[in-house]
Symmetry: D4
Subunit: 223 residues, 8 copies
Amino acid sequence: MKTTDDIGFAKVDTDRLQRRGMPEVVFSPGKTTPQILGIMQSLIKAGQNVYATRATLKQYNELKNDLPELVFHETANAITMDITPLPEPSGLVTVVCAGTSDLPVAEEAALTAERLGAKVERVYDAGVAGLHRIIPHIELLRKSRAVIVVAGMEGALPSVVGGLIDRPIIAVPTSIGYGVSHNGMTALMAMLSSCVPGISVVNIDNGFGAGVSAAMINRTVNS
Amino acid sequence: MKTTDDIGFAKVDTDRLQRRGMPEVVFSPGKTTPQILGIMQSLIKAGQNVYATRATLKQYNELKNDLPELVFHETANAITMDITPLPEPSGLVTVVCAGTSDLPVAEEAALTAERLGAKVERVYDAGVAGLHRIIPHIELLRKSRAVIVVAGMEGALPSVVGGLIDRPIIAVPTSIGYGVSHNGMTALMAMLSSCVPGISVVNIDNGFGAGVSAAMINRTVNS
Amino acid sequence: MKTTDDIGFAKVDTDRLQRRGMPEVVFSPGKTTPQILGIMQSLIKAGQNVYATRATLKQYNELKNDLPELVFHETANAITMDITPLPEPSGLVTVVCAGTSDLPVAEEAALTAERLGAKVERVYDAGVAGLHRIIPHIELLRKSRAVIVVAGMEGALPSVVGGLIDRPIIAVPTSIGYGVSHNGMTALMAMLSSCVPGISVVNIDNGFGAGVSAAMINRTVNS
Amino acid sequence: MKTTDDIGFAKVDTDRLQRRGMPEVVFSPGKTTPQILGIMQSLIKAGQNVYATRATLKQYNELKNDLPELVFHETANAITMDITPLPEPSGLVTVVCAGTSDLPVAEEAALTAERLGAKVERVYDAGVAGLHRIIPHIELLRKSRAVIVVAGMEGALPSVVGGLIDRPIIAVPTSIGYGVSHNGMTALMAMLSSCVPGISVVNIDNGFGAGVSAAMINRTVNS
Amino acid sequence: MKTTDDIGFAKVDTDRLQRRGMPEVVFSPGKTTPQILGIMQSLIKAGQNVYATRATLKQYNELKNDLPELVFHETANAITMDITPLPEPSGLVTVVCAGTSDLPVAEEAALTAERLGAKVERVYDAGVAGLHRIIPHIELLRKSRAVIVVAGMEGALPSVVGGLIDRPIIAVPTSIGYGVSHNGMTALMAMLSSCVPGISVVNIDNGFGAGVSAAMINRTVNS
Amino acid sequence: MKTTDDIGFAKVDTDRLQRRGMPEVVFSPGKTTPQILGIMQSLIKAGQNVYATRATLKQYNELKNDLPELVFHETANAITMDITPLPEPSGLVTVVCAGTSDLPVAEEAALTAERLGAKVERVYDAGVAGLHRIIPHIELLRKSRAVIVVAGMEGALPSVVGGLIDRPIIAVPTSIGYGVSHNGMTALMAMLSSCVPGISVVNIDNGFGAGVSAAMINRTVNS
Amino acid sequence: MKTTDDIGFAKVDTDRLQRRGMPEVVFSPGKTTPQILGIMQSLIKAGQNVYATRATLKQYNELKNDLPELVFHETANAITMDITPLPEPSGLVTVVCAGTSDLPVAEEAALTAERLGAKVERVYDAGVAGLHRIIPHIELLRKSRAVIVVAGMEGALPSVVGGLIDRPIIAVPTSIGYGVSHNGMTALMAMLSSCVPGISVVNIDNGFGAGVSAAMINRTVNS
Amino acid sequence: MKTTDDIGFAKVDTDRLQRRGMPEVVFSPGKTTPQILGIMQSLIKAGQNVYATRATLKQYNELKNDLPELVFHETANAITMDITPLPEPSGLVTVVCAGTSDLPVAEEAALTAERLGAKVERVYDAGVAGLHRIIPHIELLRKSRAVIVVAGMEGALPSVVGGLIDRPIIAVPTSIGYGVSHNGMTALMAMLSSCVPGISVVNIDNGFGAGVSAAMINRTVNS
C-alpha cells in the first residue's frame, strides 16, 4: 500500500493520519508558495484536511488562487481547508495567555487543539503582575483535562497557575521580551526550573506542539 | 483551618494534598538530615505519606534511627513511608529508558507515577543505536495513557518513539554524557527541537516532575 | 591624613566609613585566615566594626583564638564584632524568601541591612507554589521602605510580590536549583526580564549587596 | 467595582494606579497602532495619563490623527498625554550617562522618574575614559536620593560612581557596543559583578524600569 | 614556479590542485561580484575548473555577462564552469537528508562530492519521524564508501542511520528550526553527542566540507 | 535468533558485531565495577573481544580478580581482553597529537583504530608553536588513508595539517587548557570553523569515536 | 582651561590629545550625520585632525557638503581630514591578514597605526591553509616592533605567526565565518587560548584598537 | 643540528631560545612530577634556565629531591632554577592589581617579565572602588613602556587606568568573583569591550602570557 506521495521535492506522509492520529501539518516558514501548494494538493488528493501553521497573509493570498476554499486564521497565522469534517469537540483544554503580544502563539495552540477534537476555552491577558485576573478562572482551570499556559519575558505564569490546580500543564515560552529575555530562552529556562511539578514545556513559540500535546492528553479519556 | 505546619525553618504545606492532589514531597539535596526529619515528622503528624527524592543511603541510615519504618528505593534514590495506603494502580504509564546510566532518573519517574496512582510499565535500555529493541514494545506504548522517555547524550529517543505512537510523551533529558553533552543541555535542547509534535519536556534529570505530569495525565480519565 | 592601613598584602580602606557610609566588609572566600585576621585587626585598630561575610564555622573557630569577642551568625555565615554601637534601627526593610535552601542568602541580606541601621522584618518560605502564604503579609510589604525578595529556581517570586505593592524591590537570585537553573542564572535572567517595573537585581547569592542597597534606600528618608 | 477595561485584544488595567501607584504604561514594540490607540483611549476614558515607551515617530504621527493632544519626546522615544496634572517634582534623582549613544535610554529613565514625581538632574557624556568629567558632579550625586547610571560597552561607570557616593545606584546596561559587548550582556554582567555594594541592576536598555525604581525610592521619604 | 596569481585583492591559490587534490573553490558570501569574477578569471587562466558555492541567482546573472559559459545549480546555490573534464564518477557516496528545507545543504554536499570524483546517490526527505522511509535504503547505505547525513532541528538522523550501518558517516547540521534549535547549534551538539561511534561532524550548513570529506574518503580506495 | 543478552541492568548487544562491524564497547564512567564485570562476562560468553574505555587503574585491579586475563593500557586508560584474534593490521591511519597532556586521547584513538584492523602510526608532540616538528612527517601523512589530529587549547593543528595534505582528517578537540579554553569547547568550535575543507570533528576528548571513524574509512578500501 | 567642547548632545574631548597622545576619534555607527558633523567641526575648531571609523560612503557623501576636504578611505571605511600634518612614519608595524573578507579590519588597523606615527607594512591573504605564503615574510615580521594579525573563522593565524617570531603580536578576530564561527567569538576564544605566549587580543573587528595598541608599542622606543 | 630533546613522552624545544627569544617554560597543571622533572633536566642539560608556572608547593617539594637548587616563588606559584644569569633589568613594566585575591596572577606576570629582562614595578590593591589609590601612581604608569593591569569581578580597572595614560596596556582578567563573574568571563568580556583604545587582553588568569607580551614590548626599544 502506497502511503507517501512523492511530489519531487517532498514525500507527503499521507499515512501519518493512521500512525500518529493526525494528518501531516505544513510548517510554512522556509517553504516557497509552490512547495506549500504541492503539499496541500497531495493532502487534498488523499482526502485529508489541510492545516498550515506560521503562514502569512501574503502566502494565503497567493495560495487562494489555486485553492479558493482555503481559510486564513488571522491571529493564529494559520491556513486551513477541511475536506472531511473535524472531530466533534469533547473534553476540555484551557489556554491561558499572559499578554497581548503572546496571542498568536496562544491562538495557534487553541486552534491546533480544536482541530484535534478538543473543546477549548481561552483565558487571555492574565499576567503575573495582575494575579487578580486569574483567580476568577480557577474553577475552569480545575476542570480542564489539560491546561496550556503561554508566557514570554520571565515566564512565571505557569508556576503561578500550577500552584493552584492539579491538572497537567503544557507551558509555552514565547519570544516576547527584550534584552535578557533572549528571544524566549529566559522564559523557557524559568518554566523548566519551576518549583511546581506537573509542568512540562515545549519549544519557544511552539503553540502547535502544545496544542498537539494537550489534544493527545484530552483524548486519552477514550483509550 | 490550619494548613501549614510551622516547624521553625520551614512551613510544611500539609494542605497541598487537597489543593494539588498530592502531599508535599521532600527534595533532599541541600537539606540537612534534621531538616528532612522535621518535614517528615510534620507530614506523618498530618497523616500524609512521606516521599523524599534524591536521597542518599547515608541520609536514609541516619533518618532510620528516628523513623525505622522508612523504606529506601536504591535505584530511584528515594525514601518513602506510607501512613495511608497508596491509590490503587490504574490506567497505564510506560517509562522508556535509553541506557544503564539513565536508570536512576527513569526509576524516580516510575516510582513517582506509581505513588500517584498510575500502573507503570518499564522499557529499559532501548537506545537509538539499537532501534530493534524498541519495536517489540510498540503495542505497549500505543496503549499507554502517557509515555515517559528518558535519555541523555543526543536525546534522540523521544523523537524516535514519538514518530511511532499517538500518545502524549513526557521527555526527560539526563545529565549523562561528556563534552558537548553539557550535563544534559544538549539532550534537553534536542528534545525541545524535536520534529515530532506531542512531546513536552521537563528539566534535566527531573524524573519526579515527569512522573507527576504523567500521573496527572493518567488520571484525567476519571475527570 | 592617613586613610588606608597598609598591612603588606592589602591596604585596608579605613576611610570608607566616611566616603561610603559604612566600614570595609571582609569577603571571606579565597582569603586565608591570617589575611582575614590582619584585616580585622586593622579595622579594630581604626575603631571600626568588623563584619565578615561568607565565613565558615572553621574560619570563625580559628579567628576566635586571636579575637575571642567575634560572634558567628550561623544561618547568615557571617562573623561580626562591634567596637562601636550599631546605628539605632529605623525605617523598615522586609526580606521575603522562597524556600528553606535560600535562607543563608536571605539572612545575609537581613543582617547586612540591620547593621546599616534598618529595622528588618522577615517573611520566609513564601514560594510561588503557595501564594496563599504571601497574602497575609501584604500590609507589611506595603509599608516597607524597601523589600528584598530572595528566590532560586525559576525566580518568579519578585514578579509576584512586585505586582502587589508600590515599593522598590531588590531581587536576589540564589544558586538553588539543578539542571537548567544553571546555578542561579535562570533566576537572575527571569528577575531581570520581569514584566513588573520597580524591581532591580543584584548578583547571584549576593545577599550582602541587596542588604546594602536596601539600607541605603531605607536611610534616604533622612536626607 | 470594575477595574479592567476589556477592549477585545487586551484588558487595560485601569486599577493599577491605586494598586501600584502609577497608571498602566504602554510598551509599544510588537503592538499595532490600532492596539496602542485602543489602550490609550481606555486610559483616557478612565481619566488616567497616557505614557507609551519605545514609540517611533511614525507611530506618533499615526496616533496623532485620533489623539491630537499626544506629545512626542524625541530622544526618549516616548509619547505622553496628561489628562490629570503630573505630581509636583520633589526629592532628587540624578541620571548619569556614559555616551551619546546611550542618551535614549537615559532620557527614558529621566522622563519616567519625572512623571512619577521625582525632580531629575542629568549628568550626560561622563564616560570612564574621562573621569575628570564626573568629579565636578560629586556633590550633586551625594545629595541625590537615588542615582541612575546608564552605560554600554564594558559597563564600568556604575562601579566608578558607586565608589564615590553612599546613595543607592540603579545601573542600566545599554545595548551599545559591538563584538563581545553582546548587545549589552557584557555591560549587564559587569554591573552585576561590581566590587562596589549598593548597586542594583535592571534589564538591558530598560530605562523605564530604572526610572520606576528610582522614583519609588525617591518617594519613600514621605512614607 | 609561480603558484599563486596575485590579482590585487587576493592571491588565487592555483597550486592548490596539486597540493590538496582540488582547485580553489570560491565561497561567495561577503565577496563582491567583481571580486568573484577576478578569482574565476584567474582560475580559468590557470586552466582550472570554476566552482563557487553559496552563490545567488543575482550574482550568477551578473557574472554571466563576462563568463557566459557559467552554469547555475539552483538547489545547491552553486556556479560552475568546467575547463577540464571532471573526474570519472567512481566509488559511492550516499547523501541522506531529513527535510525539504535541508535540500540546499544536501545538494551542495552531493555536487561537491560529484565534482571530486564520487558517484553520488541521494536519499531525501527521510526524517526521524518517519523511520519507515529509511529502511528501504539500508542496502544502498551499507555499500556506500561514505554516507553524508544532513539534518536540522534535533539532529537525530545521523544516530539513527549510524545504528544501522558500519560505514563512516559525515553529519551535517543545518540551521533549519526555530527557538532552541539556535540556528543549527542544537543539531550540531546532538550529532557530536551521538551514542553511535563512527560519526564525525562538520560546521552548520557546511555541505561543501562534508562533500570534500566524503570524496576524500571515497578515493582512498585507490591509494 | 537471540542477539541481546539480558543481564538484569543492561541488554548487551552481542549482535552488534555483525550489524556494525565491531563488538559492543564498554564506556566505563558512571558504571559500577559489578556492572562492567557483568557486561564483560556477557561479551566473553558470546565469544567477543572485551574493550573498555576511560577505565581507571582501580577499576582494572578490581576486575582482574574475576577476569585475570584483562590487560590495562596505561596511557589510553583502556582495558582489553581478546577472546578471538584481532584483525590483521592493514592500510594506514596516522594519529597526530599537539601536546603531552593530549596523549591519553590520542592513545585511545590509536588503540581503537588498531583494534578495528588499522595499521597505526603516531606523530606526537607536534604543536602549532613548533611547525618545524610536523614538516618531517608530511610524507607519512600524505600516504595515510585517514589522519586523526588531536589538539586542545586553540585547536589550530587540524587546520595546519589539513593545509598540507589531501587525506580525510578526523579532528579531536581535547579538554586541555584553561580559562576561555572552556574544557575543549574553543578547540571544538575552532576545528569546526576551519578554513580548510576535508576536516570533520568528533566530541571533546572522544578519541574512541575518532578511532572508529578512521578505522571505518581505512577499511573501505576493501569494499 | 577649557578642555571639552560642549555641543549639546556631546562633550568633545579636545584635551585628549595631550592626555592620551591622540585626538578623539569618531566611532560612526549609531550616530546621525549631524552628530558626526558636529563632533568633526569641534575638532577642527580645536585644530585637531579628524578621523571617523566605520563610516559609510553615504555618510561621507553627506558630510562632504559641509566639509569638502574630508577624505574617504574605501577599504578601511574611514573618513579623515588632517588640519595639522600627521607624525613622520617611524619604527615598523606589520599587519598580517588571513583572507579577502578580513581586509576592512586589517586596513582600519593599518590606517590607525599610520595616523599615530607608525611605518606600516601589509602582508595580506596569508591564511593558515597556505602557510607557504607566510614563510617569505618572516624577516619582515622579525624586524617589526609590533605585529597585528587579523583572522576570522578558526583564528589560528596568530598562533602560527607567533610560533615563528619573538615580537609582540596584537591579534584581531574578525566576524568573518558562518555557523559556529559565531560572528567572531570562535576566533576570539581561539586567539585567547593560544599555546603561544606573547599574543594579546582585542575585540572582534576592532582594527582601530589594534592599530592604537601597536602604535603605542611602536613609539615606546622614544620613551 | 639537534634542537629538540626527545625524552619519550615529550620533545623539549631547546631551540626555542633562539627562535622565540626565551627558553621553553613548563606549564605544570596536568603534568606528573616525573614528567616535569624530565623536562627540567632536558633544559638544564641544554644549559637553559628552568621556569615552571602554576606549580604547587607539593610539586616543588617532590622535585627538590632531584634538583635541590630549585627555588619556589610562593605568591607566584612558580619554580625557577637559573643555569645562566638572567638578563640585566632594563626599561620599565608596571603591574597594577585590583585586589588581594588577584595577587598570584599579578606576581606571575611580574616574575615572567623580570625573567625576560624587564625592570618591574608593582602597584597592588588599586581597585575601582578606591580610585584615590591609583592617582598617586600616575607618573610611574606614564613612564612605563608597558602596563599590565590585573582585575577580576567586573574588570573595570584597565578602562580606568587606560583613560589616564598613553602607554600600551595588557589587561589580565582573573577568575576571582562569584555568580555572574563566571570564573573571569565577565572581566574578560568587559576588558575586550573597553571604550578606551590601547588595551589588549590575554586569557583568564594568564599572568604568564601578559608578562611575555609586556617583556617583548619592553625590549623593542633595542630593536
